[in-house]
């Protein structure tokens, strides 16, 4: 089946992408910009040095309304939602009965409802899951009328301030949010993103998205950035991509995402368990010997990029894992890798091999992130 046989969706910025010279590719059912004329390498470096604007409107936005919304959502995620203060955002995971990950998502508490952002490729399934499991306890509003922009990089705050009516309304630290009037448009802004940089995600009505994007691109040193650089930026930041580094057969503990499971949901906590797969996930948290494999960072010794699907071996040539994300890291100026290895080999500094074109390439388990996070705390 060819791509043209599929009906691809377009974001409200489709025409703008074309006018900016973007190269469009099919991604998660959408026609999305993979790069602009600047190219992946320069777009990546520009974001780390200045500010980049990303169209992430393909992602799903869903609101949960009602007094029981937080309690209901806690039955689907191993995360403290009830304790999430108004104006704060938190990373979460939908789990399945086996403890695997159905999707990763962001939850923002507006003070009157919960605003969820889920992955494009999973959104239909996530919405069905929410409706089936908690649809009777809260009102689920799918916000197809909203687009999403990410503004990332050390220059993001200045760029946002240049079009904000009242800069005092701009969220002041990482994972905070609120409503801000930008270029005359009422937006929901959170100080977050997926590049490891300081920055913002801006939820804006579809009809006003292009005007907002143009206003942001008119700010000094803001460049449009495509999916290619978005991927290399998130990999350098050690962040997982669902469907690659996370899937239904991988638990949050194996994925080294235990930081996302607050104490209150763990064994001994006030609201321990009560989410799908809690028996598996809590058992792994309580007894690390039950964790057979773990997500780790890996640095190749050579210059050749090592990509998703490459087998990882011990020095005896036995398979001990697999690469789930890999590529060249422009800010590190070297290839970097994320993958899963048997727990025995998961310590930083462990020397292993990657089976590259039939040969064992020397690699080493390395600490993540590969590029330091620069969130504003």
């Amino acid at each position: 089946m060819s791509d043209s046989a599929e009906q691809l969706s377009r974001t409200p910025l489709f025409d703008l992408h074309l006018s900016l010279g973007a190269r469009m590719v099919p991604f998660a059912g959408y026609e999305m910009p993979v790069q602009y004329p600047l190219g992946v390498m320069k777009e990546h470096l520009h974001t780390r040095a200045h500010a980049g604007l990303f169209d992430v409107s393909h992602m799903g936005q869903v609101e949960l309304h009602g007094a029981e919304a937080a309690a209901a959502l806690e039955t689907l995620v191993p995360v403290d939602v009830i304790g999430l203060p108004a104006g704060k955002q938190r990373y979460a995971l939908f789990t399945n009965d086996e403890g695997g990950i159905l999707d990763d998502l962001m939850i923002f508490n507006t003070g009157s409802y919960l605003h969820l952002v889920v992955n494009a490729a999973c959104k239909a399934q996530d919405i069905a899951h929410l409706k089936a499991k908690i649809g009777s306890r809260c009102e689920i509003r799918v916000r197809d009328d909203l687009a999403l922009l990410a503004l990332q990089g050390p220059g993001a705050e200045a760029a946002l301030a240049s079009i904000a009516k009242d800069v005092a309304n701009i969220p002041q630290s990482f994972m905070q949010g609120g409503r801000v009037l930008l270029a005359g448009i009422d937006c929901l802004v959170t100080r977050s993103g997926y590049t490891g940089e300081d920055g913002f995600e801006i939820s804006v009505p579809n009809a006003q998205c292009e005007a907002l994007a143009k206003a942001l691109l008119a700010a000094p040193n803001v460049q449009p950035i495509g999916l290619g650089a978005r991927d290399s930026l998130r990999l350098e930041a050690g962040l997982c991509l669902y469907g690659h580094d996370l899937d239904t057969a991988t638990t949050p503990v194996e994925a080294a995402l235990t930081w996302a499971i607050q104490k209150v949901r763990r064994t001994g906590g006030a609201r321990a368990g009560g989410f799908p797969g809690a028996n598996v996930i809590l058992a792994q948290l309580d007894d690390p010997s039950k964790v057979k494999r773990k997500r780790v960072g890996i640095k190749p010794e050579g210059r050749a990029p090592i990509r998703e699907g490459v087998e990882l071996q011990n020095e005896q040539g036995q398979k001990i894992g697999v690469v789930t994300s890999g590529g060249f890291a422009p800010s590190v100026n070297a290839p970097i890798v994320m993958g899963y290895v048997d727990t025995t080999y998961a310590s930083t500094g462990t020397k292993i091999n990657a089976l590259l074109r039939g040969n064992g390439a020397s690699v080493m388990v390395a600490a993540m992130p590969f590029a330091p996070h620069r969130y504003k705390r």
């Binding site: 390498m41 290619g228 050749a304 590529g327 060249f328 290839p335």
Partner: protein
């Protein structure tokens, strides 16, 4: 000097019985920023269509194939040291390797510039 092209977007420029091989501007543009090149060994005997050099861009892995049968005489170390040369000047400074042709008829059978331009539209 005559230049011929392959359907895999390599070019070969012939000087006597020595061909200079690289990838076309079209190919480097499709691949995006190159980050790694692995050259064939000098003296290696290649058959037409063999994978000769390994190319990695920020987006994908690819190969430069041998456009004709022959022996590798020389490789361009400059593109190993700085793969971005292939992006900035693919058909001059960004050449890959020189090959001693075994059979000039193979070269003559490749596409000329007009045919290659038609191929890439």
């Amino acid at each position: 000097m005559t230049t011929r092209y392959t359907e895999d977007h390599e070019y070969i420029k012939l000087d006597g019985d020595i061909g200079t091989v690289g990838i076309t501007h079209f190919a480097q543009d499709k691949l995006g920023d190159l980050v790694y090149v692995e050259q064939p060994k000098i003296g290696k005997a290649l058959k037409q269509g063999d994978d000769a050099a390994i190319i990695e861009s920020v987006k994908a892995a690819a190969e430069a194939k041998a456009p004709v049968d022959g022996e590798v005489l020389e490789v361009n170390q400059a593109i190993v040291d700085d793969p971005s040369l292939v992006n900035s000047d693919p058909e001059n400074a960004g050449w890959f390797f020189k090959i001693k042709l075994a059979d000039k008829a193979q070269f003559d059978a490749l596409m000329d510039e007009a045919a290659y331009k038609k191929l890439i539209g």
